[in-house]
Symmetry: D2
């Protein structure tokens, strides 16, 4: 930690800061510049509240040297993590695709969708049983009935299941059906939900918050890991910007940034980012080329009649076509799909 004193800081103020740091167990190294003094402080600040120092008289600013996340950081664990869901491995050489409708609507459609996406090469079926909707008047999901439908689709196809959990009270229930718990963008900083997901030990698909920095996202992962669950798959799904041509702005740079800062696998959701099926193909290709470990894509048998997010859903035949187009792309980055 580096403490920057302001240019009018008195010698006494500098001494006080050094004294306080010593008290807190730091070794201090003041550097007296021509205009300002800075103090290097050596020690473990993980449990220090930096504001203790930051508002002492004469202090201008504090610069942390270490990242705030630890378990999620590549500094701690150099080898990339692979999250295993039975025989499906996310973070390895194979690019894993999750596909399915936004909301689960009924059994026959869902099972048929599962069959179709499996044929096309998806390894995991997605679907929402508990839906976080912007409007209280919109369809909120079939809840446990939806989970049961997912289980039937698993039986019929052997696909793994990923579905969202939106309430701490439902974690146990959802975990009893799902293979992967999804934490949605709006709940990325619902810290209690993160803790419960951490305690459940199920693999967690952690979507990036609507306007979350990469550091905050990794801190959310840290919450889950600190609760004992290392099986986290990050999911970039677009961030909020001033641009309205797409629903969100897909931040594909997040892929190389995450690969540098963390050992966790990262997949991409081009459907929620784009908000329209027309851009899903190009963005899915871009994601694979940029280094994503997987994709999650909305597929619906009949998008115009979907209960939720129809405009961004691909029909199964379009999805199958896209999967074919992704093969040479995966191969171009030395991977398979």
């Amino acid at each position: 930690m580096i403490i920057i004193m302001n240019k009018d800081a008195t010698r006494e103020q500098i001494d006080n800061v050094e004294h306080k740091l010593s008290e807190l167990g730091f070794k201090t190294h003041p550097i007296f510049g021509e205009v300002k003094t800075v103090i290097g402080a050596i020690g473990d600040k993980r449990h220090l509240n930096p504001q203790l120092i930051s508002i002492m008289p004469g202090v201008e600013n504090i610069v942390p040297i270490m990242k705030p996340f630890k378990l999620a950081s590549r500094e701690l664990k150099q080898i990339s993590s692979i999250v295993e869901i039975g025989d499906v491995k996310i973070g390895g050489n194979e690019i894993v695709v999750m596909a399915g409708p936004c909301a689960i609507e009924n059994e026959s459609n869902f099972v048929e969708t599962a069959i179709r996406v499996k044929e096309a090469g998806a390894k995991i079926i997605r679907g929402g049983a508990f839906k976080p909707r912007t409007s209280p008047y919109a369809f909120q999901g079939l809840e446990e009935d939806g989970l049961k439908i997912m289980a039937s689709a698993r039986e019929a196809t052997g696909l793994k299941l990923v579905t969202e959990v939106v309430d701490t009270r439902d974690v146990e229930l959802v975990a009893s059906y799902a293979d992967i718990l999804q934490i949605g963008a709006r709940n990325m900083q619902n810290f209690r939900l993160l803790q419960e997901a951490g305690l459940s030990k199920k693999p967690v698909l952690l979507k990036r918050g609507l306007a979350a920095t990469i550091e905050e996202w990794l801190m959310a992962a840290e919450y889950i890991m600190a609760a004992g669950n290392p099986n986290i798959i990050l999911c970039e799904r677009g961030i909020r910007t001033y641009e309205t041509a797409t629903r969100n702005t897909l931040d594909l740079s997040a892929i190389p940034v995450i690969k540098e800062l963390s050992h966790l696998p990262i997949i991409v959701d081009p459907s929620h980012a784009a908000g329209t099926w027309k851009y899903v193909g190009p963005l899915a290709k871009g994601a694979v080329a940029t280094g994503a470990d997987g994709l999650i894509i909305e597929v619906h048998l009949d998008p115009p009649n979907a209960f939720s997010d129809g405009p961004q859903s691909l029909r199964p035949d379009k999805f199958a076509e896209l999967m074919n187009e992704l093969k040479p792309m995966a191969s171009a980055v030395g991977r398979i799909i």
Copy 2:
């Protein structure tokens, strides 16, 4: 609702859209322009899923005519709402100030803070018992012990209590102590928590999400209202932008916008917006002048030793000074404080 057809839409596609709209109970009015056709659709679309139409062949775009929120809208209720917490009225002529520390740390400090902010003119004491912290390693709050301390402070001073609830499982507990339930920025779209807060009937202080639009914020209020609780106080606390000179960018324009769109009262939190106590005074004054119905300000006896958010906390004497400076400001907008 207006449906804009794209310029190459065929007559058959236009007919199909009209047919579908009729089926859904709308009366349709096509207008054939020189380049494009638009279709006006009359009827109650509150429960319509607009995508049913938006992805029909030939449709370019859909423009809603009505706002998505209803109970929260001034179109429905022209008279400004006043939220009453005993004898404290928010939304009336008096500008109500809530003050206190970010986190509750111990009884003696909290009670002393309560006494000091009351002397200065605050009507409500704030304090966090359940803290949503970015890091799992940071202090998470005293939980029920914190609520008990709040209750003592109420007894000692007669102030009302506002405190945050972060988990659906805690709503009943928190509501049994607090006079106002706070829903924090990170939980503004934790829809289950909104519903529980709606069922509890306690007044709710609903902070604007980190990157929430005003429309989404009013939709969050709509969730609480739709669950049966009309007692909502909106709180602007800064939004996320690219600017890093302040912790968040305080959006004071939200005040006149909310006043136009909604009947709900709105208060401002200059402390979280600024991130540093130095800017709290000017922004508090700006908020009052712009038309805020109240303020919520962080006050701590000893900011450098605060467990949380010390840098943005005022000392009680600075707070008292600010309260004095706010008086002519309130009077300049024809109100009292």
Copy 3:
């Protein structure tokens, strides 16, 4: 154009709006809804100032039906444009790569860089002679001497030249040396410069503004086209968001959006977006996979000693390696590089 009247609009206000629209040459079609009235207005509004209507009493909002850009739009010209710079064609099947240093520093280095990037497959050399720098104390470019160096490099290699122009007074000078005029992000709405670039008839590389919407970007292109110059290459270079992990957030979604809205070719600048050479490779691959028509990449013989933007520059050998890795990527989208 659709005019939405507010719910309390009187019959007289509606009549006044209709009357005003008729006066302006529009045919009007009022639709009387249950709550609000909307008026469809048919006619050419290109030269209408919409505010004439928008602030008439009773008017709530105006919704345009047509895009504000015309010459740049795919609605006007369905076939994708190809910009030809001698034998180099941008927007065709070949993905064209521009490469070179941020600033031109001296002749020998620049010519050597040109030779190296040509060997690696670049078709165009980039370099800044006039540099728009955030600080007045930073190196501002070699100006005409830099242009002369560029010309030598062209002679030595046969590469085409792209370089930035930052002042209306320099357009003629720069155009006398360069094959492509670059308009930088900070000047995207320097409308006089756009007009001069339009008059010059040289192909223009138009970078997206720091925080420009896609619509504003196309309106900037429209300025150049309206001045008589149809040879525009758009360049996505990252937009400003709250995320600080990269210098800018590369918006690869802009590629399919531009392809839908406009016939103009679009290339990507991963170097300025990332701000660090480490992410340039993954983002360049992502850009090609998403459908970019070209790339512009910073290459420097000795990045630590570059006068400008060293941290984001690739060394020539790294650039050559990247060009090789891009080949299967181009092939995967049915193109060559």
Copy 4:
């Protein structure tokens, strides 16, 4: 300047960095932490290109200690600057109001507007003769004829004139008529224009760029000052965010931030920020209360028929009313208006 080495940096890499810094004239102070080493470097880095160091092997990051602006900084000049335009002083105890139409349309209207805003208490008349418009098809201004009209209004009223200059080639012409040169938001980083404005010696009203950080804004001021012109008035006019309820998001926090970082006066433009006249009053009051040194407000005799920005213009009577309401507000912050 602090150099943070990454955790795997070798002793040799650390030595190399120290060596390079010494070569560049810095004194170095390495601090060997438990995990990482940091190096304090003392010396004048104003002309150093920090990347020289930032991409040396083993370097993780560089943290500047000094601000990049110098002439504009309060560190250099503690006393607040007052910009004098004849007898009008901006930055002193009086809050100065500039008012007038967006574009100059004809002499009689402009002179009448000048008379009306003067009566209401404005000291400076604003009006656009050269208009930077998003669309090439929109009204671009009367150019020199507009300037002549402004001069007549000055003669008739004694008001000072502020008007925008958009092209380096026009600075001399505009300066020959205007009392204050305005640099608009879109040209805030048109560095050549800043330099010309610096050379002209006329007071400059420097609007904050659409998405400019406060630091970039002060660097733009630094350009003008470095060219020899210290008479700069900063103008906050709203920044670009994801929120669409207002045209821009007015960042009133910029006022206390600027007051802390710089000695330059700052005024606020609520009209362009809001985009609608309805919010201009509340925001003007908020600006005064937050500490603005002045306001610039759009006033038009007949907003529905304005050539530009009618929706955000006040009628003269509304403006006079607002000026009255601002008086107690100014008095509440110990100033006059």
